[in-house]
Amino acid sequence: MADLGVRCAGVALRNPFLLASGIWGESGDSLAGAWAAGAGGVITKSIGAVPRPGYPNPTVETYERWGLLNAMGLPNPGIEEYPREIKSAQNAGATVIGSVFAGDANEFARLARRMEETGVVAIELNLSCPHAEGFGTEVGSDPDDVERIVQAVVDKVKVPVIAKITPNTSDPAGLAAAAEHGGAAAVSAINTLRALAIDVRLRRPVLSHGLGGLSGSAIKPVGLACVWQIYEAVSIPVIGVGGIMRAEDALEYVMAGARALEVGTAVAFEGIRVFARLTHDLSSLLDELGYDRVEDAVGAAHTRP
Protein backbone atom coordinates (compact mmCIF):
# COMPACT_ATOMS: atom_id res chain seq x y z
CA MET A 1 0.00 0.00 0.00
CA ALA A 2 1.27 3.44 -0.90
CA ASP A 3 2.78 5.55 1.86
CA LEU A 4 0.49 8.42 2.81
CA GLY A 5 2.89 10.09 5.20
CA VAL A 6 3.77 13.64 4.20
CA ARG A 7 5.97 16.35 5.56
CA CYS A 8 4.45 19.81 5.15
CA ALA A 9 5.55 23.13 6.58
CA GLY A 10 7.96 21.28 8.83
CA VAL A 11 5.22 19.08 10.27
CA ALA A 12 5.19 15.32 9.80
CA LEU A 13 1.66 14.12 9.07
CA ARG A 14 0.56 10.49 9.09
CA ASN A 15 -1.60 11.19 6.05
CA PRO A 16 -2.33 14.31 4.04
CA PHE A 17 -5.97 14.77 5.15
CA LEU A 18 -6.34 17.56 7.70
CA LEU A 19 -9.66 18.39 9.33
CA ALA A 20 -10.44 21.85 7.98
CA SER A 21 -10.96 24.80 10.29
CA GLY A 22 -14.60 25.38 11.19
CA ILE A 23 -15.55 21.71 11.18
CA TRP A 24 -15.82 19.73 14.43
CA GLY A 25 -13.55 22.25 16.08
CA GLU A 26 -15.49 23.79 18.93
CA SER A 27 -14.73 21.07 21.45
CA GLY A 28 -11.59 19.15 22.28
CA ASP A 29 -13.63 15.94 22.25
CA SER A 30 -14.63 16.55 18.65
CA LEU A 31 -11.06 17.34 17.57
CA ALA A 32 -10.00 14.13 19.29
CA GLY A 33 -12.83 12.28 17.56
CA ALA A 34 -11.69 13.49 14.13
CA TRP A 35 -8.16 12.35 14.93
CA ALA A 36 -9.44 8.96 16.09
CA ALA A 37 -11.47 8.70 12.88
CA GLY A 38 -8.26 8.93 10.89
CA ALA A 39 -7.58 12.57 10.06
CA GLY A 40 -3.86 13.24 9.48
CA GLY A 41 -4.12 16.31 11.65
CA VAL A 42 -6.82 18.61 12.94
CA ILE A 43 -7.13 22.34 12.46
CA THR A 44 -8.99 24.19 15.19
CA LYS A 45 -11.90 26.52 14.81
CA SER A 46 -10.62 30.03 13.97
CA ILE A 47 -10.04 31.68 17.31
CA GLY A 48 -10.14 35.40 17.98
CA ALA A 49 -9.23 37.64 20.84
CA VAL A 50 -12.70 37.70 22.41
CA PRO A 51 -15.66 35.29 22.49
CA ARG A 52 -18.01 35.67 19.54
CA PRO A 53 -21.46 34.07 19.26
CA GLY A 54 -21.40 34.39 15.49
CA TYR A 55 -24.42 35.37 13.43
CA PRO A 56 -28.00 34.32 14.23
CA ASN A 57 -29.39 31.32 12.39
CA PRO A 58 -29.97 30.51 9.59
CA THR A 59 -26.23 30.10 9.18
CA VAL A 60 -26.20 27.19 6.74
CA GLU A 61 -27.85 26.24 3.46
CA THR A 62 -27.12 23.11 1.46
CA TYR A 63 -27.42 22.39 -2.24
CA GLU A 64 -28.20 18.68 -2.48
CA ARG A 65 -24.77 17.16 -1.93
CA TRP A 66 -22.75 19.42 -4.16
CA GLY A 67 -22.51 22.58 -2.15
CA LEU A 68 -22.85 24.21 1.19
CA LEU A 69 -23.29 27.89 1.96
CA ASN A 70 -22.40 29.17 5.40
CA ALA A 71 -22.29 32.45 7.25
CA MET A 72 -21.42 31.37 10.74
CA GLY A 73 -19.73 34.64 11.57
CA LEU A 74 -16.62 33.15 13.20
CA PRO A 75 -18.27 31.92 16.43
CA ASN A 76 -15.58 30.96 18.90
CA PRO A 77 -15.02 31.03 22.66
CA GLY A 78 -11.99 33.34 22.40
CA ILE A 79 -8.32 32.67 23.02
CA GLU A 80 -8.72 32.67 26.84
CA GLU A 81 -11.17 29.77 26.96
CA TYR A 82 -10.18 27.71 23.95
CA PRO A 83 -6.79 26.30 25.06
CA ARG A 84 -8.52 23.75 27.32
CA GLU A 85 -10.15 22.23 24.22
CA ILE A 86 -6.78 22.05 22.45
CA LYS A 87 -5.22 20.37 25.46
CA SER A 88 -7.99 17.81 25.53
CA ALA A 89 -7.33 16.96 21.86
CA GLN A 90 -3.58 16.82 22.40
CA ASN A 91 -4.08 14.47 25.35
CA ALA A 92 -5.86 12.16 22.93
CA GLY A 93 -2.74 12.18 20.77
CA ALA A 94 -3.99 14.49 18.04
CA THR A 95 -1.68 16.58 15.84
CA VAL A 96 -3.28 19.99 16.28
CA ILE A 97 -2.85 23.05 14.10
CA GLY A 98 -4.27 26.25 15.55
CA SER A 99 -6.29 28.66 13.41
CA VAL A 100 -6.54 32.32 14.31
CA PHE A 101 -8.23 35.36 12.85
CA ALA A 102 -7.97 39.06 13.61
CA GLY A 103 -8.64 42.47 12.15
CA ASP A 104 -5.07 43.70 11.80
CA ALA A 105 -1.45 42.57 11.83
CA ASN A 106 -0.79 43.36 15.49
CA GLU A 107 -3.81 41.44 16.68
CA PHE A 108 -2.89 38.49 14.45
CA ALA A 109 0.60 38.45 15.95
CA ARG A 110 -0.67 38.62 19.55
CA LEU A 111 -3.17 35.84 18.94
CA ALA A 112 -0.63 33.69 17.16
CA ARG A 113 1.70 34.00 20.13
CA ARG A 114 -1.07 32.92 22.51
CA MET A 115 -1.99 30.08 20.20
CA GLU A 116 1.65 28.93 20.05
CA GLU A 117 1.70 28.67 23.85
CA THR A 118 -0.91 25.92 23.65
CA GLY A 119 1.61 23.68 21.90
CA VAL A 120 0.04 23.52 18.46
CA VAL A 121 2.44 22.26 15.79
CA ALA A 122 1.63 25.08 13.37
CA ILE A 123 -0.63 28.08 13.05
CA GLU A 124 -3.00 28.71 10.17
CA LEU A 125 -4.00 32.31 9.57
CA ASN A 126 -7.64 32.74 8.55
CA LEU A 127 -7.34 35.75 6.30
CA SER A 128 -10.97 35.57 5.15
CA CYS A 129 -12.20 37.80 7.93
CA PRO A 130 -13.29 41.41 7.99
CA HIS A 131 -10.90 44.30 8.45
CA ALA A 132 -10.83 45.71 11.97
CA GLU A 133 -11.82 49.04 10.47
CA GLY A 134 -14.79 47.36 8.79
CA PHE A 135 -13.85 47.85 5.15
CA GLY A 136 -16.21 45.13 3.99
CA THR A 137 -13.54 43.21 2.14
CA GLU A 138 -11.54 40.36 3.56
CA VAL A 139 -8.32 41.14 5.40
CA GLY A 140 -6.50 38.77 3.10
CA SER A 141 -7.61 40.22 -0.22
CA ASP A 142 -4.72 42.67 -0.52
CA PRO A 143 -1.19 41.29 -1.03
CA ASP A 144 0.43 44.06 1.04
CA ASP A 145 -1.90 43.29 3.95
CA VAL A 146 -1.15 39.61 3.62
CA GLU A 147 2.60 40.16 3.65
CA ARG A 148 2.37 42.55 6.57
CA ILE A 149 0.22 40.20 8.63
CA VAL A 150 2.31 37.13 7.90
CA GLN A 151 5.52 39.03 8.69
CA ALA A 152 4.13 40.28 12.00
CA VAL A 153 3.15 36.74 12.97
CA VAL A 154 6.37 35.12 11.82
CA ASP A 155 8.33 37.69 13.84
CA LYS A 156 6.38 36.66 16.94
CA VAL A 157 6.28 32.85 16.80
CA LYS A 158 8.64 29.96 16.14
CA VAL A 159 6.12 27.43 14.87
CA PRO A 160 5.41 27.22 11.14
CA VAL A 161 2.85 29.73 9.90
CA ILE A 162 0.36 28.77 7.20
CA ALA A 163 -1.54 31.47 5.34
CA LYS A 164 -5.01 30.44 4.15
CA ILE A 165 -5.68 32.15 0.85
CA THR A 166 -9.05 33.57 -0.17
CA PRO A 167 -10.41 32.73 -3.61
CA ASN A 168 -12.34 36.02 -3.68
CA THR A 169 -9.61 37.71 -5.69
CA SER A 170 -8.35 37.90 -9.23
CA ASP A 171 -4.81 36.97 -8.17
CA PRO A 172 -4.55 34.12 -5.68
CA ALA A 173 -0.96 33.47 -6.75
CA GLY A 174 -0.07 37.06 -5.88
CA LEU A 175 -1.57 36.64 -2.42
CA ALA A 176 0.36 33.42 -1.92
CA ALA A 177 3.60 35.02 -3.06
CA ALA A 178 3.00 37.84 -0.60
CA ALA A 179 2.56 35.28 2.16
CA GLU A 180 5.82 33.62 1.13
CA HIS A 181 7.61 36.98 1.19
CA GLY A 182 6.24 37.50 4.68
CA GLY A 183 7.80 34.26 5.81
CA ALA A 184 4.93 31.78 5.64
CA ALA A 185 6.00 28.14 5.85
CA ALA A 186 3.08 27.11 3.64
CA VAL A 187 -0.14 28.38 2.12
CA SER A 188 -3.52 26.69 2.13
CA ALA A 189 -5.95 27.36 -0.68
CA ILE A 190 -8.82 27.96 -0.87
CA ASN A 191 -11.16 29.34 1.73
CA THR A 192 -14.84 29.68 0.82
CA LEU A 193 -16.22 31.52 -2.20
CA ARG A 194 -18.38 34.56 -1.58
CA ALA A 195 -21.93 33.47 -2.42
CA LEU A 196 -25.62 34.05 -1.76
CA ALA A 197 -28.96 32.23 -1.59
CA ILE A 198 -32.37 33.90 -1.77
CA ASP A 199 -35.74 32.46 -0.75
CA VAL A 200 -38.19 33.60 -3.40
CA ARG A 201 -41.28 33.02 -1.31
CA LEU A 202 -39.94 35.02 1.61
CA ARG A 203 -38.21 37.49 -0.69
CA ARG A 204 -35.09 37.57 1.41
CA PRO A 205 -31.66 35.98 1.65
CA VAL A 206 -31.74 32.58 3.27
CA LEU A 207 -28.83 33.20 5.63
CA SER A 208 -29.36 35.77 8.38
CA HIS A 209 -26.14 37.52 7.38
CA GLY A 210 -27.05 37.51 3.71
CA LEU A 211 -23.74 36.85 1.97
CA GLY A 212 -21.94 33.68 2.91
CA GLY A 213 -19.15 31.36 1.84
CA LEU A 214 -19.66 28.48 -0.59
CA SER A 215 -17.85 25.20 -0.03
CA GLY A 216 -18.11 21.62 -1.23
CA SER A 217 -17.86 19.92 -4.59
CA ALA A 218 -19.05 23.02 -6.48
CA ILE A 219 -15.86 24.90 -5.63
CA LYS A 220 -13.36 22.15 -6.38
CA PRO A 221 -12.55 23.39 -9.90
CA VAL A 222 -11.91 26.86 -8.48
CA GLY A 223 -9.73 25.48 -5.70
CA LEU A 224 -7.77 23.43 -8.18
CA ALA A 225 -7.14 26.44 -10.38
CA CYS A 226 -5.87 28.43 -7.41
CA VAL A 227 -3.58 25.63 -6.23
CA TRP A 228 -2.29 25.23 -9.78
CA GLN A 229 -1.41 28.91 -10.10
CA ILE A 230 -0.03 29.17 -6.58
CA TYR A 231 2.20 26.12 -7.08
CA GLU A 232 3.81 27.83 -10.04
CA ALA A 233 4.30 31.08 -8.12
CA VAL A 234 5.80 29.95 -4.79
CA SER A 235 8.41 27.53 -3.46
CA ILE A 236 6.71 26.82 -0.15
CA PRO A 237 4.32 23.87 0.18
CA VAL A 238 0.68 24.29 -0.80
CA ILE A 239 -2.19 22.73 1.13
CA GLY A 240 -5.20 22.08 -1.11
CA VAL A 241 -8.74 22.75 0.14
CA GLY A 242 -12.10 22.90 -1.49
CA GLY A 243 -14.58 20.20 -2.33
CA ILE A 244 -12.51 17.13 -1.51
CA MET A 245 -15.08 14.34 -1.20
CA ARG A 246 -13.32 11.36 -2.77
CA ALA A 247 -9.77 10.12 -3.24
CA GLU A 248 -9.79 11.23 -6.88
CA ASP A 249 -10.51 14.80 -5.74
CA ALA A 250 -7.60 14.58 -3.32
CA LEU A 251 -5.22 13.33 -6.01
CA GLU A 252 -6.34 16.09 -8.37
CA TYR A 253 -5.23 18.58 -5.75
CA VAL A 254 -1.95 16.72 -5.17
CA MET A 255 -1.18 16.65 -8.85
CA ALA A 256 -2.07 20.34 -9.05
CA GLY A 257 0.62 20.93 -6.46
CA ALA A 258 -0.77 20.23 -3.03
CA ARG A 259 1.42 18.48 -0.49
CA ALA A 260 -1.36 18.21 2.09
CA LEU A 261 -5.12 18.64 2.01
CA GLU A 262 -7.99 19.91 4.14
CA VAL A 263 -11.40 18.28 4.31
CA GLY A 264 -14.40 20.11 5.68
CA THR A 265 -17.75 20.02 3.94
CA ALA A 266 -17.42 16.31 3.23
CA VAL A 267 -17.92 15.76 6.96
CA ALA A 268 -21.37 17.35 6.73
CA PHE A 269 -22.44 15.00 3.92
CA GLU A 270 -20.56 11.81 4.78
CA GLY A 271 -19.83 12.05 8.47
CA ILE A 272 -16.44 11.79 10.14
CA ARG A 273 -15.88 8.32 8.68
CA VAL A 274 -14.97 10.15 5.45
CA PHE A 275 -11.38 10.28 6.69
CA ALA A 276 -11.05 6.52 6.87
CA ARG A 277 -12.56 6.19 3.42
CA LEU A 278 -10.32 8.85 1.91
CA THR A 279 -7.10 7.39 3.29
CA HIS A 280 -8.03 3.87 2.23
CA ASP A 281 -9.13 4.93 -1.24
CA LEU A 282 -6.17 7.24 -1.85
CA SER A 283 -3.76 4.46 -1.00
CA SER A 284 -5.53 2.16 -3.48
CA LEU A 285 -5.57 4.83 -6.15
CA LEU A 286 -1.87 5.55 -5.74
CA ASP A 287 -1.16 1.83 -5.97
CA GLU A 288 -3.24 1.62 -9.12
CA LEU A 289 -1.29 4.49 -10.68
CA GLY A 290 2.09 3.14 -9.64
CA TYR A 291 3.03 5.63 -6.92
CA ASP A 292 4.88 4.36 -3.85
CA ARG A 293 4.31 7.54 -1.89
CA VAL A 294 1.74 10.33 -2.15
CA GLU A 295 4.61 12.82 -2.01
CA ASP A 296 5.85 11.49 -5.35
CA ALA A 297 2.66 12.71 -7.02
CA VAL A 298 2.86 16.33 -5.83
CA GLY A 299 2.65 18.64 -8.85
CA ALA A 300 2.64 15.70 -11.27
CA ALA A 301 0.18 17.40 -13.62
CA HIS A 302 2.51 20.34 -14.22
CA THR A 303 4.95 20.19 -17.11
CA ARG A 304 8.28 20.91 -15.54
CA PRO A 305 11.27 21.93 -17.67
Binding site: S30, A32, N57, P58
Partner: protein, 258 residues
Protein backbone atom coordinates in the same frame (compact mmCIF):
# COMPACT_ATOMS: atom_id res chain seq x y z
CA UNK B 1 -33.22 22.68 1.60
CA UNK B 2 -35.99 24.42 3.47
CA UNK B 3 -39.72 24.05 2.98
CA UNK B 4 -41.68 27.24 3.48
CA UNK B 5 -44.94 26.47 5.26
CA UNK B 6 -47.93 28.47 6.42
CA UNK B 7 -49.00 27.94 10.04
CA UNK B 8 -52.52 26.47 10.06
CA UNK B 9 -53.30 26.48 13.76
CA UNK B 10 -52.04 28.05 16.92
CA UNK B 11 -53.09 26.42 20.18
CA UNK B 12 -52.29 27.81 23.62
CA UNK B 13 -51.63 24.60 25.50
CA UNK B 14 -50.69 26.19 28.82
CA UNK B 15 -50.02 29.79 29.85
CA UNK B 16 -46.40 29.24 28.82
CA UNK B 17 -46.58 26.91 25.83
CA UNK B 18 -48.02 27.27 22.36
CA UNK B 19 -48.45 24.65 19.65
CA UNK B 20 -48.08 25.63 16.02
CA UNK B 21 -49.40 23.25 13.35
CA UNK B 22 -48.25 23.36 9.75
CA UNK B 23 -48.45 21.19 6.64
CA UNK B 24 -45.27 19.13 6.23
CA UNK B 25 -45.28 15.77 4.47
CA UNK B 26 -41.85 14.37 5.31
CA UNK B 27 -42.12 11.28 7.53
CA UNK B 28 -41.01 12.21 11.01
CA UNK B 29 -40.25 9.66 13.71
CA UNK B 30 -41.03 10.24 17.40
CA UNK B 31 -38.02 11.95 18.89
CA UNK B 32 -36.88 13.74 15.78
CA UNK B 33 -36.62 17.50 15.44
CA UNK B 34 -36.78 20.13 12.76
CA UNK B 35 -34.93 23.43 12.37
CA UNK B 36 -37.60 26.13 12.38
CA UNK B 37 -36.83 29.41 10.64
CA UNK B 38 -38.79 32.39 11.87
CA UNK B 39 -38.04 34.68 8.93
CA UNK B 40 -36.21 37.83 9.85
CA UNK B 41 -35.48 36.41 13.23
CA UNK B 42 -33.79 33.14 14.06
CA UNK B 43 -33.77 29.45 13.26
CA UNK B 44 -34.13 27.06 16.17
CA UNK B 45 -34.20 23.32 16.70
CA UNK B 46 -37.60 22.15 17.87
CA UNK B 47 -38.72 18.63 18.56
CA UNK B 48 -41.90 17.66 16.78
CA UNK B 49 -44.79 17.37 19.21
CA UNK B 50 -47.18 16.17 16.49
CA UNK B 51 -45.99 13.82 13.75
CA UNK B 52 -49.13 13.09 11.70
CA UNK B 53 -48.53 12.26 8.04
CA UNK B 54 -49.54 15.56 6.49
CA UNK B 55 -49.60 17.94 9.42
CA UNK B 56 -46.81 18.38 11.92
CA UNK B 57 -46.64 20.40 15.09
CA UNK B 58 -44.13 22.03 17.37
CA UNK B 59 -44.88 23.06 20.92
CA UNK B 60 -42.84 25.98 22.09
CA UNK B 61 -42.13 27.42 25.48
CA UNK B 62 -43.10 31.07 25.52
CA UNK B 63 -40.45 32.60 27.72
CA UNK B 64 -37.17 34.28 27.07
CA UNK B 65 -36.03 36.11 24.00
CA UNK B 66 -36.93 34.01 21.00
CA UNK B 67 -40.00 32.59 22.55
CA UNK B 68 -41.47 36.10 22.80
CA UNK B 69 -41.15 36.21 19.04
CA UNK B 70 -42.82 32.82 18.75
CA UNK B 71 -45.63 34.25 20.85
CA UNK B 72 -46.35 36.56 17.92
CA UNK B 73 -46.75 33.70 15.45
CA UNK B 74 -50.35 33.10 14.51
CA UNK B 75 -52.12 31.07 11.86
CA UNK B 76 -51.15 32.38 8.44
CA UNK B 77 -47.55 33.19 9.29
CA UNK B 78 -44.83 31.67 7.09
CA UNK B 79 -42.11 29.54 8.63
CA UNK B 80 -39.12 27.78 7.07
CA UNK B 81 -38.80 24.14 8.09
CA UNK B 82 -35.82 21.85 7.43
CA UNK B 83 -35.43 18.30 8.53
CA UNK B 84 -36.43 16.08 10.18
CA UNK B 85 -33.11 15.50 11.82
CA UNK B 86 -31.78 13.24 14.50
CA UNK B 87 -32.67 9.81 15.80
CA UNK B 88 -35.85 8.46 17.34
CA UNK B 89 -37.17 6.70 20.39
CA UNK B 90 -37.04 2.91 20.15
CA UNK B 91 -40.65 1.81 20.44
CA UNK B 92 -40.03 -1.85 21.24
CA UNK B 93 -40.21 -1.77 25.06
CA UNK B 94 -43.53 -3.13 26.34
CA UNK B 95 -43.85 -1.15 29.58
CA UNK B 96 -42.39 2.33 29.71
CA UNK B 97 -42.13 4.92 32.44
CA UNK B 98 -42.21 8.36 30.83
CA UNK B 99 -40.81 11.14 32.98
CA UNK B 100 -41.71 14.55 31.59
CA UNK B 101 -40.61 17.83 33.12
CA UNK B 102 -42.27 20.99 31.89
CA UNK B 103 -42.07 21.37 28.12
CA UNK B 104 -40.30 18.00 27.91
CA UNK B 105 -43.79 16.54 27.58
CA UNK B 106 -43.93 17.92 24.04
CA UNK B 107 -40.90 15.89 23.01
CA UNK B 108 -42.22 12.68 24.52
CA UNK B 109 -45.82 12.89 23.30
CA UNK B 110 -45.31 11.46 19.78
CA UNK B 111 -43.31 8.55 21.21
CA UNK B 112 -46.02 7.73 23.76
CA UNK B 113 -48.67 8.00 21.06
CA UNK B 114 -46.86 5.66 18.69
CA UNK B 115 -45.84 3.30 21.49
CA UNK B 116 -49.33 2.92 22.92
CA UNK B 117 -50.75 2.47 19.43
CA UNK B 118 -48.36 -0.47 19.10
CA UNK B 119 -49.51 -2.06 22.34
CA UNK B 120 -47.06 -0.50 24.80
CA UNK B 121 -48.15 0.23 28.36
CA UNK B 122 -47.10 3.76 29.27
CA UNK B 123 -47.10 5.43 32.66
CA UNK B 124 -46.42 9.14 32.41
CA UNK B 125 -44.98 11.00 35.40
CA UNK B 126 -45.70 14.60 34.48
CA UNK B 127 -44.19 17.51 36.34
CA UNK B 128 -44.69 21.27 36.14
CA UNK B 129 -44.44 24.38 38.29
CA UNK B 130 -48.22 24.46 38.83
CA UNK B 131 -51.40 22.71 37.67
CA UNK B 132 -52.05 25.01 34.71
CA UNK B 133 -48.58 24.26 33.33
CA UNK B 134 -49.06 20.50 33.16
CA UNK B 135 -48.52 20.05 29.45
CA UNK B 136 -50.51 17.43 27.52
CA UNK B 137 -51.97 15.86 30.67
CA UNK B 138 -55.27 15.21 28.91
CA UNK B 139 -53.57 14.33 25.64
CA UNK B 140 -51.54 11.59 27.35
CA UNK B 141 -54.65 10.23 29.07
CA UNK B 142 -56.46 10.32 25.74
CA UNK B 143 -53.70 8.14 24.29
CA UNK B 144 -54.39 5.52 26.91
CA UNK B 145 -51.43 6.25 29.14
CA UNK B 146 -51.76 6.33 32.91
CA UNK B 147 -50.77 9.82 34.06
CA UNK B 148 -49.54 10.80 37.52
CA UNK B 149 -48.61 14.39 38.20
CA UNK B 150 -46.40 16.48 40.42
CA UNK B 151 -46.43 20.25 40.81
CA UNK B 152 -43.84 22.47 42.48
CA UNK B 153 -46.57 24.42 44.27
CA UNK B 154 -48.79 21.47 45.11
CA UNK B 155 -51.76 22.76 43.11
CA UNK B 156 -52.23 19.28 41.70
CA UNK B 157 -50.87 15.85 42.45
CA UNK B 158 -47.68 15.36 44.43
CA UNK B 159 -46.37 18.54 45.97
CA UNK B 160 -42.83 18.50 44.69
CA UNK B 161 -40.70 17.52 41.76
CA UNK B 162 -41.45 14.79 39.30
CA UNK B 163 -38.32 12.81 40.21
CA UNK B 164 -39.59 11.51 43.59
CA UNK B 165 -42.75 10.50 41.73
CA UNK B 166 -40.64 8.60 39.22
CA UNK B 167 -38.72 6.97 42.04
CA UNK B 168 -41.94 5.68 43.62
CA UNK B 169 -43.14 4.32 40.31
CA UNK B 170 -39.83 2.60 39.58
CA UNK B 171 -39.88 1.02 43.04
CA UNK B 172 -43.40 -0.33 42.69
CA UNK B 173 -43.62 -1.35 39.01
CA UNK B 174 -41.48 -3.29 36.61
CA UNK B 175 -40.62 -1.22 33.54
CA UNK B 176 -38.68 -2.22 30.42
CA UNK B 177 -37.52 1.31 29.80
CA UNK B 178 -37.63 4.87 31.01
CA UNK B 179 -38.02 7.78 28.60
CA UNK B 180 -37.35 11.26 29.85
CA UNK B 181 -37.19 14.85 28.72
CA UNK B 182 -37.02 18.03 30.75
CA UNK B 183 -34.42 20.19 32.49
CA UNK B 184 -31.06 18.48 32.22
CA UNK B 185 -30.44 18.34 35.95
CA UNK B 186 -33.77 16.53 36.28
CA UNK B 187 -32.82 14.06 33.54
CA UNK B 188 -29.53 13.37 35.24
CA UNK B 189 -31.43 12.36 38.39
CA UNK B 190 -33.77 10.19 36.35
CA UNK B 191 -30.81 8.42 34.76
CA UNK B 192 -29.39 7.71 38.21
CA UNK B 193 -32.75 6.41 39.45
CA UNK B 194 -33.21 4.17 36.44
CA UNK B 195 -29.68 2.89 36.90
CA UNK B 196 -30.40 1.99 40.51
CA UNK B 197 -33.39 -0.03 39.35
CA UNK B 198 -31.44 -1.43 36.41
CA UNK B 199 -33.87 -0.15 33.81
CA UNK B 200 -32.62 1.15 30.45
CA UNK B 201 -33.21 4.87 30.19
CA UNK B 202 -33.33 7.22 27.19
CA UNK B 203 -33.05 11.01 27.37
CA UNK B 204 -33.95 13.55 24.74
CA UNK B 205 -31.15 16.10 24.87
CA UNK B 206 -31.03 19.73 23.92
CA UNK B 207 -28.05 21.84 22.91
CA UNK B 208 -27.50 25.07 21.02
CA UNK B 209 -27.50 24.31 17.29
CA UNK B 210 -26.43 26.08 14.16
CA UNK B 211 -26.04 23.69 11.22
CA UNK B 212 -28.08 20.69 12.38
CA UNK B 213 -25.91 18.55 10.09
CA UNK B 214 -23.15 17.36 12.41
CA UNK B 215 -20.56 19.74 11.02
CA UNK B 216 -20.26 22.97 12.99
CA UNK B 217 -19.83 21.44 16.47
CA UNK B 218 -22.21 23.86 18.21
CA UNK B 219 -24.11 20.89 19.65
CA UNK B 220 -20.98 18.90 20.53
CA UNK B 221 -21.86 16.58 23.42
CA UNK B 222 -18.89 14.59 24.63
CA UNK B 223 -17.85 12.46 21.67
CA UNK B 224 -21.29 12.97 20.07
CA UNK B 225 -23.37 15.59 18.32
CA UNK B 226 -26.94 16.05 19.49
CA UNK B 227 -28.14 16.80 15.96
CA UNK B 228 -26.97 13.54 14.38
CA UNK B 229 -26.24 11.12 17.23
CA UNK B 230 -29.27 12.31 19.24
CA UNK B 231 -31.37 13.95 20.39
CA UNK B 232 -32.28 10.62 22.01
CA UNK B 233 -29.38 9.19 24.03
CA UNK B 234 -29.27 5.96 26.00
CA UNK B 235 -27.72 5.80 29.46
CA UNK B 236 -24.83 3.80 28.00
CA UNK B 237 -23.88 6.68 25.75
CA UNK B 238 -24.52 9.28 28.42
CA UNK B 239 -21.92 7.56 30.59
CA UNK B 240 -19.32 8.67 28.05
CA UNK B 241 -20.42 12.28 28.20
CA UNK B 242 -18.94 14.31 31.07
CA UNK B 243 -21.03 17.27 29.82
CA UNK B 244 -24.31 15.56 30.74
CA UNK B 245 -25.95 17.37 33.61
CA UNK B 246 -22.74 19.31 34.15
CA UNK B 247 -22.28 21.85 31.41
CA UNK B 248 -23.56 22.94 28.05
CA UNK B 249 -22.06 25.43 25.63
CA UNK B 250 -23.26 28.90 24.78
CA UNK B 251 -23.35 30.22 21.19
CA UNK B 252 -19.65 31.17 21.43
CA UNK B 253 -18.75 27.64 22.41
CA UNK B 254 -17.81 28.50 25.97
CA UNK B 255 -18.71 25.93 28.61
CA UNK B 256 -21.55 27.01 30.90
CA UNK B 257 -22.35 25.08 34.06
CA UNK B 258 -25.89 24.01 34.86
Amino acid sequence: MRTIVRVTDRVEETPSTVTLRFPFDAPCEPGQFVMVWIPGDDELPMSLSYTAARSKGITVKVMGDTSRRVQAIDAGVLLGIRGPYGNRFDLSPRRVLVVAGGSGAAVLAPAVEAGVAGGMVAVVALGATRARELLFKDRFRGMGARVVVATDDGSEGLHGYVTPLAERLLASTAFDAVWTCGPEVMMRKVVDLAGTHRVPVFCSMERHMKCGLGMCDACAFGPYHVCVDGPVFSADRLKEVPDFGTFHRDPTGRRVSF
